[in-house]
Point group: C2
Chain length 211, copies 2
């Protein structure tokens, strides 16, 4: 019996390193499935449909919500974002873990859904706001107004840190990545995530019987 | 503010490698405190009072129970075993984790005590009963009757595997030790075990205010 996959939710303010950590984790364990979000916002240069996001019209997106096809969704800066449900449930049945790079609103909705007990949630904090600002500007492709808006959203995002199972302060990427990996590996060792154990113990008892 | 220490409970049938894992973990992290049990059984050759066990008379042991000085206790093969409470509570206040090498009865009592939410419990299973038998005989210091009694106790112990948070099958020591270490490290990263985080986030908010 394969184990049921878990849902690893990674949240953080923009610029705290969450996306880099997520990418590193995907490289480390190719069996992980990354939950590609759907959004109604237009693609940025270099973004590809189905890779960074599923780019959908508002009508398409709202039809998915109406049919129960979204595990969670929220409106941010006038655009809808959400996690399609079907690929997540398929991965769980296959015993594959799914990685979510989503904000506190999405995290809250999935934790409070029927899949809540399969969630492991990790919040990534920046070492300082000065550093967060520096990383946001480092992208060099956004206007001051966009950065100011993102900083306001960051403060809002950070205010939800206490809703998460684990917290990592991203002082440096190597340490933060090692910590994230440790969390995933430990959670996989939880008794209730190892369904093969019941059979294994039955085997031990048969050995006792045969003595 | 130092974090409150957690209680890491390690249980397994005799011969599954629990004591070796515990010793390795103590070597890896000298800040861990090992909970030395008290017992009324007589010392074996090479055992030292205060190292393997606190060797106590039945009257002394029962006086400790009566005064609430035992976190848990149980009678096994006519001898009393128990975990003295005071050093555990002192370690918790100092932010040091305590490692318990105890059986399911002790684990159950501590999990159901007021300290239950600070417990992380790990059950170690042998790869097979044949291997368990081999390891028990490898000690070469016990009679067949003692071994038969210990195997019966092993079966009883194994029947409680499903009460633990985590399960490790000890196929080989290096892997089992790495898994144990991963569990301890992840549990230390749980949000509610990092009391300094609230202050840290207040600092981030002051930085936001000052912008």
């Amino acid at each position: 019996m394969t184990r049921k996959g878990l849902l690893l939710i990674l949240s953080s303010p923009s610029g705290a390193g969450k996306s880099t950590l997520a990418r590193r984790l995907m490289e480390w364990d190719p069996s992980l499935r990354f939950s590609v979000s759907a959004t109604t916002r237009p693609p940025r240069p270099g973004e590809e449909n189905g890779r960074e996001y599923y780019f959908r019209s508002r009508a398409e997106f709202e039809a998915m919500i109406a049919s129960g096809g979204m595990l969670e969704h929220a409106e941010v800066f006038g655009n809808l974002y959400g996690s399609p449900r079907a690929p997540v449930e398929r991965a769980m049945e296959e015993g594959r873990d799914t990685l979510f790079d989503i904000d506190w609103q999405g995290g809250q909705q999935i934790r409070n859904s029927a899949l809540g007990r399969d969630v492991v949630s990790v919040f990534v904090l920046p070492p300082s706001i000065a550093e967060l600002d520096r990383r946001l500007r480092g992208r060099g492709q956004d206007s001051e107004a966009v950065i100011a808006g993102r900083m306001a959203k960051s403060r809002d995002e950070i205010s939800h840190w206490a809703e998460y199972d684990y917290v990592i302060v991203n002082h440096d990427l190597e340490t933060a990545f090692a910590e994230l990996l440790t969390i995933l590996q430990a959670e996989r060792m939880r008794r209730d995530r190892q369904p093969g154990l019941a059979d294994f113990v039955r085997g031990l008892n048969r050995e006792f019987d045969a003595r």
